[in-house]
Symmetry: C2
């Protein structure tokens, strides 16, 4: 439940035994049972077990790194105080032992595991991030993915698809960016949205009096429409009531794989002023064409260009700005399209993503 650590980098190699001797009493006072493992060349591991089911690991490295990890089952503040007192003692004792000559001391916040609420949703580039989740609003499996809606105190409800943070109520910035950052006039325009299951783009564009918006979202099915509209109940700030019905005055939602739809439109010569690709980063289509994610992306791009008017525009999301290879690869795809395209990119801060997204 709780992890934290101490660094001690002494100019000399630390005397592991002296450290162990100095810290042992602190844990023994707690009535903890000790087990010590001694490596000839890797220092000590002391494990302290308490009657209430909690335990501590004290790892002493010969080069001077000392790590203390505590794990306890129940989360009562009292436990926290005890832990802080214990760690304060460890800190004092170490400072005495090395006459304050300790290079770095650091405690990490507790990591909560096994609770109803999972607060840890790593970023796209794999960094550990704890969200201020205080409620599981919705959690269901669709045939395509797991759909979670978790409530964050600061971001509002967050839509998490198969473990990836997809959109939060705080993230109008994302929707605005993928719509062209307010620089586009959608009035009377024909718009095609690929994906966009959260309804944010549809909701924002419909406000702008377009001629017709067609949204093609595969990840709906009968059961999912119910799920989605119920989940949209929880994302009102994002999608309003636009997904309560699959048809509106100036919009329709097709529950289909976008690839056959794009091919049909291309065949029919149906053209759009705007194509907005909001498919989830990793495509969830099951169409045979998708022999690889990148093939799929290029296919989508090619087909989109076919249904795009001469002066039409194509908007899509990139990915975490740190995934430079992926982004470069993506831009390479653009040069491999059947028709030449101009493109520009913009980076935005999407509050709930905790990373910058081009």
């Amino acid at each position: 439940r709780l992890i934290l650590y101490r660094h001690l980098t002494d100019t000399l190699t630390a005397d592991c035994n002296a450290v162990l001797k100095a810290l042992q009493p602190i844990f023994q006072e707690q009535g903890m049972t000790e087990t010590v493992h001694n490596w000839e060349d890797h220092g000590y591991l002391a494990t302290y077990v308490k009657k209430n089911g909690s335990f501590a690991n004290l790892r002493i490295h010969p080069h001077g790194l000392v790590l203390v990890d505590l794990q306890s089952y129940n989360d009562h503040m009292k436990g926290r105080e005890e832990v802080d007192q214990l760690l304060n003692k460890v800190e004092e004792r170490m400072k005495e032992l090395f006459h304050g000559n300790i290079k770095r001391v650091k405690r990490l916040p507790a990591i909560l595991r096994g609770g109803v609420i999972d607060r840890y949703w790593p970023t796209a580039d794999g960094r550990l991030v704890e969200y201020d989740i205080d409620e599981v609003v919705y959690d269901e499996d669709s045939p395509f993915q797991n759909i979670k809606i978790l409530h964050s105190k600061q971001f509002g409800n967050i839509l998490i698809l198969s473990g990836d943070v997809n959109l939060a109520e705080s993230d109008l910035a994302y929707t605005q960016a993928i719509m062209g950052s307010g620089k586009e006039d959608y009035t009377g325009k024909e718009v095609l949205i690929l994906g966009g299951g959260d309804g944010g783009i549809l909701y924002e564009i419909v406000k702008l009096k377009p001629k017709m918006v067609t949204m093609v979202e595969i990840s709906f099915d009968k059961q999912l429409i119910i799920q989605l509209s119920s989940s949209c109940k929880y994302m009102r700030k994002t999608c309003g009531d636009v997904l309560d019905n699959l048809k509106g005055e100036c919009y329709q939602v097709l529950i289909e794989d976008c690839i056959p739809v794009l091919k049909r439109y291309a065949k029919e010569g149906r053209m759009f002023d705007y194509v907005i690709n909001d498919l989830t980063a990793v495509p969830i289509s099951t169409s045979p064409e998708e022999d690889s994610t990148w093939e799929f992306l290029r296919l989508i791009l090619d087909l989109s260009m076919k249904v795009l008017k001469q002066d039409g525009k194509y908007f899509t999301q990139g990915n975490c700005i740190n995934l430079t290879d992926a982004l470069t690869l993506y831009e390479e795809q653009l040069s491999r399209l059947y028709c030449p395209v101009e493109f520009s990119k913009e980076t935005v801060c999407v509050p709930s993503y905790m990373e910058l997204y081009p």
Copy 2:
């Protein structure tokens, strides 16, 4: 070095012994030495020690939570692969044992400890956040605080004062917000900046041709000016060259505690169009008036109002939006000022803060 875990929530209470028996071989195959602790009523803790100095904790709780924590010293990808293989085995074995009836399985990214680079800088509301730090650019103690400049791939250089993320090169949004979000005309105006050590506000306002900007920053001293200007070398995007000199055509930087300065100005009747309070969230002044942080804040507010023209404006930062008590308390201070004030607030997304700031 690496932490991750498994959840297994069986409808029945898990048979701890069965789980232990099922998982033991996986660790034994690794040539790890096992120590098992058995609580009558709290399940098992099995510790596995490897010759190379790494070890694993397997914690089996009777209500069905199983946690696996691995800690190893060296960070070579090979180690990572080994870990993943081991965890895959644990996962398979568990699924066999419970016929796939496992409620949740989750791995967390590795937590890196004891390295030269510390990637973990918790948010103001105490959540664990890993930054994409790839370089320690600058790290010095001033008489008032520790000044770190760490480079983040996505945020650029980040200024960290005494462990608190203060500002990153990506955070123009913060500077713009505390300047009134572009709605203010600073041309020919008298501006007073309290704090603002990173130089961002000064740099942005000076561009707007004010009459005179006075910045009062206590946390400079002779030695620190060198530090700061050298640190500003690393924050060029934020402060340009504005702090290379303490005097410019339309600005001056006073290296003083702002309280006596404010009192002096109030006495002299020196008035300003704008007072921007950018003092670090926890005041670092040592003036006797500061018998408490809140007293100090109110004192600053009172004195600021005294030097503010009739139609003048006072801008300041709030704090993490989750610290609602603090924010409410702050607003209470506003009602306790010697003169009535109107106030409004705005919340912005400061990229590097990873939380919303009013």
